[in-house]
Each structure stands twice: as C-alpha cells, then as structure tokens.
Symmetry: C2
Subunit: 436 residues, 2 copies
C-alpha cells in the first residue's frame, strides 16, 4: 500500500506548476462548471483516459469508452466505484434490476477476464443482477472459467435473442452494458433492440474516430481555458487527420507527410513560445483503432517517408485484422514520469464512472522511451499508485504534492470524459430517426 | 487500520442470522426497492443512525438529521463522502457554488468543532465554497479557533442578514446548511429566507418528535418486511408516546406508567414468540430531545413509579434547559456487541449522505451495560471499526462475516434515513402555504 508516488524527473518549472496552481485555486469554479456541463450532457457510464504529463503540458492522449482495467484499480476504491455505479445505472434503469454485460471475445487474455469479473462484482454489489452474455460464436452453453490471478470464477453464457430483446437463458435484462469495443462492427444480435445499449452501439471503434473525439475535446479545452484565463494548449494535444491511408500500398502518403510536417511546425512554434528545448514529435495512429497496434512516433517527415516494410505492416495491423483506413496525427506529449525500481516510463490512466473519478493506475513500460506509446509489449500496471482519489484538491498542500497532482489529473481526465459525453450525444442525435 | 471488528458475544442463532441471510440473498431486490423510494422521496442531505444489534433483532434507536461526528469517520471514506456530497448538493444548487454552514454554538466542545472542520473540508473538496456563519450572539467579527485534536484552524464568522438573504461579510451563499439542531427554536435570522435551508427549519428539535419519526419508520419497516416476507419486529423497535409530561411535578404520570406496562407486555409477547429468555426493558426519553440527556431505562412500571428526585431532575434536564413536555417510550434493544480491551458496550452509528452510506463508527461506553443508553459520560468512539463500507454485500461470505454484517447495518440505517426523508417531505407539505 505504500508504493511511492512518482515524481517528475525533470524539475517542475514554468507552465505546469502554474497550470496546477490555477486548477487548485479555481477548483470551486471548475467544479461548478463541470456540474453545469453534466446537467447539459449526460456523462458516459464509464470511461478511462490515458494522460501524459510532460512537465510543461498535461494532456489526454486516448479516451476509452470500454475500459478494460477495472481489476487494476486499488481495491480501496471499491466503495467509490459502487456508489458511482448506483448513481449512473439508476438514471438508466430506475426501477429495474437486471443487466447483461457483453464483454470482448478474447478469453485467452486472462487480465481482461479479471476486468470483467471485477465489473460484474462491482455492479452486483451496487445492487443489480448481472450476467454475462457472450458473443463467442462457438459458446453453446454456460461455461465457468477459472481466473488464475484472483482465483475467482467467471461464468459466461451465450447471448440469445428473441424478438427485439436479448437474454441469457430465461434472464431478460433491462439494459445491455457493452464492454466490447465493436472493432469488427455491430453484431446482428445487438441491432435494433428494445433494450437500451450502453454505451450506444455507434460509439464502437467500427464507427468512432479519435479525430472526432479530439475535435470535441478541443472545444472543451477552449471553454476551460477561457474560464481559467489560460492557453488551451497547456492541456490540449494538437492534431491533424488524414482519411484513406493504406500503409501497405503507400496510399495517402502525401497527406500524411504534409500533415506531419505542418503539425511538427505548429508544435515547434509552441515550444518556442514557452522556451521548451525538447524535440517536437508526433504520434501517428489509426483514427479508429485501439490495443496499441498501428501506433508510431515520428520526429520528422523522413520518419514517415522512410518507413520500411516491417513498419508499414505494423501500421496496418489493427485489431481483428481491420485495415487502417484513416489516421490521426497527434502532437506527441512527453511523459517525464518514471516509476518502479527499473525507472520504467509511466503514464497515468484515470478511471471514471458517470461524472466521478473512481481511481486510476500507472501504465509502465521499461522497454519504451518517453516519446513512445506505452501500450505495447513490456507494459505493466501499478494499481496502487493512485492512493489518493483525484477528484478533490487539498488546499493546504502545494501544487506538486500528491493529492493535488492527482486533482489536476482528475480535471483533465474529466474534460476528456466531457468531450466523450458530447461525442455520444452528437452520435445519438445523428442516429435518431428523423421526424418526416 | 487493523482494529478488530467486534463479534457478538452471544452465539448468533435464530432470527438475526436468518434476517441477515435474507438481506444478503435479496440485496438486488432491496436495492431496487430503495432506488424506487429515493425517486419518490428525496433523501436527507445527511443523517446518522444509532443502531442496536441484539442478536435476535437489529433496529435503529435514534436518527439524527444534524450529524455531529464526521470527524469520527475513517479517513479512507473521504472520497466516498465527497462523491455523495457532490450528488446531493448538485441537486440543491446545480450551478451555484457558495454555501454557508450554521453550526451549533457550543464552541467548548472541541470534538464537535473537529466535526465542523471536517464537514467544511469535505464540502470544499467537493468543489464548493464554504464559510461558517455562526449564530453565537457575542461573535462580532471573524474568529479563528485552533483545533487541539487535529491541529487545524476553524474560522467562524458572524451570520448577518440583509433583506431576505443571510451572508457572512459580502459572501452571499446559495443555500444554508444547518448543522445546528435548533433545540432552542428557530432564530429570527433564519426565518423566511429566500435562500434554501437544509434540512428545513421545521426539522429542528424544537419541532421534531421522535415518535413522529418512528411512526414513519414503522411504515418503512412494514413495507420492507412485506418485500422480504419477514416479521417487521425484527428491525422495528416498538414504541408508545405520552404528551404533557413534567417529571418534576409528576404530571402525566399515569400515561407514562400505563404505556410502560403495555409496551413491556408487548415486548414480552414477542420475546415469547421467538423463545428469547432475556428480560424486556423500555427506554423513556424526551420525544424532542437529544444529547443523551433525559434518557432512562425501565424494566418495570415500578422503575417509573419509584423515581427519586435526582432521577426526576435528570429526566427534566434536556438540552439548553428546555423542559421535557412529551416522552417516547421505546422498546429497549439489547446490544450484545463489545469492543476494545475493556470489553466496552458498543453500538454502531451509521453515517449517510444523500442515499449513500458513507461510513460509520462504534460508540463505546465501558461504564454502561447492554440495556443502557451509551450516549452518556464515559462515551468514546472507535472510528476505525467500519473498515468496510456497509452499502454493499459480498455474496461470497457468510452472513456474519464482516462486509455482510455491515451490509445489514447499512440496510437498516437506510430504512431509517428513508423514514426521515418521508418525515421531511410531510413537514415540508405541512409548512407550505396553502393555495387559497
């Protein structure tokens, strides 16, 4: 329980300390602003946000609407998760008590299965019946999987459909909770249900685009910056995007090169403005991908121009074999956080349920540098790092003291969750049948 | 942090284990029922409930709408309190951010001042501005009190009124949070404000009656018992009440004696039904009192008939000198819980914010027996006892294992909070100006 909380290895000077001080000083305004926003836009049931803390900048780099690491949260946060789930699910099913969870199909990822078991456990403790409706095609009857890490058992049952309702056995839920990012598209069994599906089907990675999310985030960052009298760049990663990229066939190469060049220039200008002497870099990734595949770091246009066959194959190998068809080029944000005896590169991941920060952990990777994607082979988690919850500041501490650093993380993570909420709302409106 | 959780000193057999097993098995139904109730009736902003666990019966004996022991909660529950406060206050002041807390006037009770400081701290961390508006008549300017137990400082400011709004200095709050039970009546400064006062003024002890609360509780207990197919007596303390009692002048003596006799008979009948061999007893207390004054145990009518002068004076000495004018005679519930190296008699106190259980502690008193009021000289608190939150059960444990025992406590405490919610709603409707 006493795992050391990482300190930034660079001296904290300039903008970030100023940013954190401002967030602390203005926390009642920030909280009032968030309250107002959540009245306008319903928060996602759950979300997780990967942050990068560069010392001079603190920004989200990925927002996940199907978080897969609830098993990595500090068990001390369990009551917080349960309370937030009660608030969130109550809004969806005020009087009902039955839910079905639809997880990913990959049953060999034992850590993922622990996440599913933890989610079932939390929602059960929140006072709901919860059964797992699996989409695995060759699962024909209820199957109990022993979980090697925790010693728990996980019961998978095949999801069935009768009319416009899904069920497992004779158990008919009031709503379907997705923990499956639908990378391969929306399965027939989930289309046009009478039951509510959360998050909405159109938020799966088959349809969702990172550039769309970060467009909403840019707006949120502008609003927050206006509220606080700050430059939004301090928490907003610049980005550009290209459609129709095929790395194997070198299609869309000019768009990619041009946008990498422009973005590197924009970052360099910002670095100059703030007197930052680090080298600018960008991250190129699938605009609709996940799982850390198809992600690369580029420090120059040549890095793109001179990609070899292996790098091209890597960039094309998104989850479940989907070809990358569009790409986002995102400002690379250094992480200067290190953790553990091996000084592994670290980035915080913040978990939210409804409008509440419910915990987090550090993603570590000793094999990766501070300009690289850490969601890659060698990745591990430090579940105990966030001993303090990050939703509330302590005015008696300095900005770089533990609860306060985490408060700043919680603010930026919630900005990303708010962007996701607006993204969901916009998607819902697009999907709604039009009045004739 | 590893303080042992007390076990009942009597063997747990019969009804309570059965009751706890039922609560555990039916927890999704119980939670769904509570959700439905909270949609109908807004929960109190905060409340605390004293429980007594007799082994064969688990019941609330007092429900406080101005809880004064937030400093006794396990600090690990802080995030839970903050999250619940955000939910609760958001409902009251969705976009505002300024609150004033009106505490009790007794500045020499240093533990109470710690409670006030903890409340201010929690609400500040929830993202609201919070200042203390004191009613102390001779407080003419802002005063900082050093708190000896925690080393914190508490800033009291005189509450002022301009027109129909109260303020401290030029700070005008959106709502007034009462942590003052108004035993001495409603002060002029708080009457007919444009700002919301929480809880409503009519819930102060100048107007509130325990018998009214336990009347609402009886209804809640009946409904829960019907849901679960149980005898409501297993969690409902029987009671009777008498108006117009003056112990000094022996006024109302016959009413008291008659009702004590009837109640002892009713309890004896229930004990017989369940094969309980303990001696029945009743608690006589002020129907509108608090602070443990004016509370006595009676095992027979003679205990009432033969009260000496000293006992009569004690029964007349309610808080702030008010004379007792009506009394509640409540079924005495044994507590068979003991805690600490001295085996002190113990009873759990459960704290709630909004609809959520946010922690609790044991009230201990080594100088008192298991048939007596523990809120008396010799009282101390064990803040670490509730290491587990009591709002959620663990289906993998037996009914008397820790999280599950606490789940049962949380259910019964929330039943009392629901009774208080209905009491508040009824009071509000009575107070509302009638349409002509």
């Amino acid at each position: 329980m006493n795992s050391p909380v990482p300190h930034l290895t660079t001296a904290l000077t300039g903008p970030l300390l100023a940013l954190e001080s401002t967030l602390l000083r203005r926390s009642p305004d920030i909280e009032a602003w968030f309250r107002e926003q959540w009245l306008k836009t319903t928060p996602p049931l759950y979300s997780s946000v990967d942050l990068r803390n560069a010392g001079f900048k603190l920004a989200p780099v990925d927002t996940n609407l199907f978080p897969g690491g609830f098993n990595n949260l500090n068990p001390a946060f369990e009551p917080l998760c349960i309370q937030a789930l009660q608030t969130a699910i109550q809004r969806i099913c005020p009087t009902a008590k039955r839910l079905v969870l639809v997880p990913e199909n990959h049953t060999r990822n034992t850590f993922y299965l622990e996440n599913v078991a933890t989610l079932v456990d939390l929602i059960t403790k929140a006072g709901f019946h919860m059964r797992i409706g699996s989409l695995i095609p060759d699962l024909h009857e209820a199957t109990e999987l022993p979980l090697e890490h925790s010693g728990r058992r996980l019961r998978l049952e095949p999801l069935r459909r009768t009319g416009n309702r899904v069920h497992v056995g004779d158990y008919v839920p009031c709503a379907v909770l997705l923990n499956n990012d639908l990378s391969a598209g929306v399965p027939e069994i989930l289309r046009d249900l009478d039951q509510e599906v959360i998050p909405p089907l159109d938020l799966g990675w088959h349809a969702r685009q990172k550039s769309n999310h970060f467009g909403f985030y840019r707006e949120v960052a502008k609003e927050m910056a206006a509220l606080l009298g700050l430059d939004p760049w301090l928490f907003d990663p610049l980005f550009r995007n290209c459609g129709q990229i095929n790395f194997q066939k070198r299609e869309g190469q000019e768009c990619l090169e041009a946008n990498v060049a422009l973005l590197l220039e924009d970052i360099a200008a910002k670095y100059k403005e703030y007197g930052i002497t680090e080298q600018p870099f960008v991250i190129v990734k699938s605009d609709a991908g996940t799982y850390g595949m198809g992600v690369m770091t580029a420090r120059s246009v040549d890095d793109i121009r001179n990609m070899n066959r292996r790098a091209r194959t890597h960039m094309s190998s998104a989850k479940e074999g989907r070809e990358v068809t569009s790409a986002i080029i995102q400002e690379g944000v250094y992480t200067f956080e290190k953790l553990g005896p091996d000084g592994a590169t670290a980035e915080p991941v913040v978990y939210m349920i409804d409008q509440f920060v419910v915990g987090g952990f550090y993603r570590l990777n000793a094999q990766r540098g501070n300009q690289e994607n850490l969601n890659a082979p060698g990745m591990r988690f430090e579940p105990l790092a966030f001993e303090e919850c990050c939703s509330h500041p302590d005015p008696r501490c300095g900005p770089d003291e533990r609860p306060n650093r985490f408060y700043a993380y919680g603010v930026v993570a919630r900005m990303a969750a708010l962007a996701a909420a607006r993204e969901i709302e916009a998607t819902r409106q697009l999907a709604a049948p039009r009045a004739a």
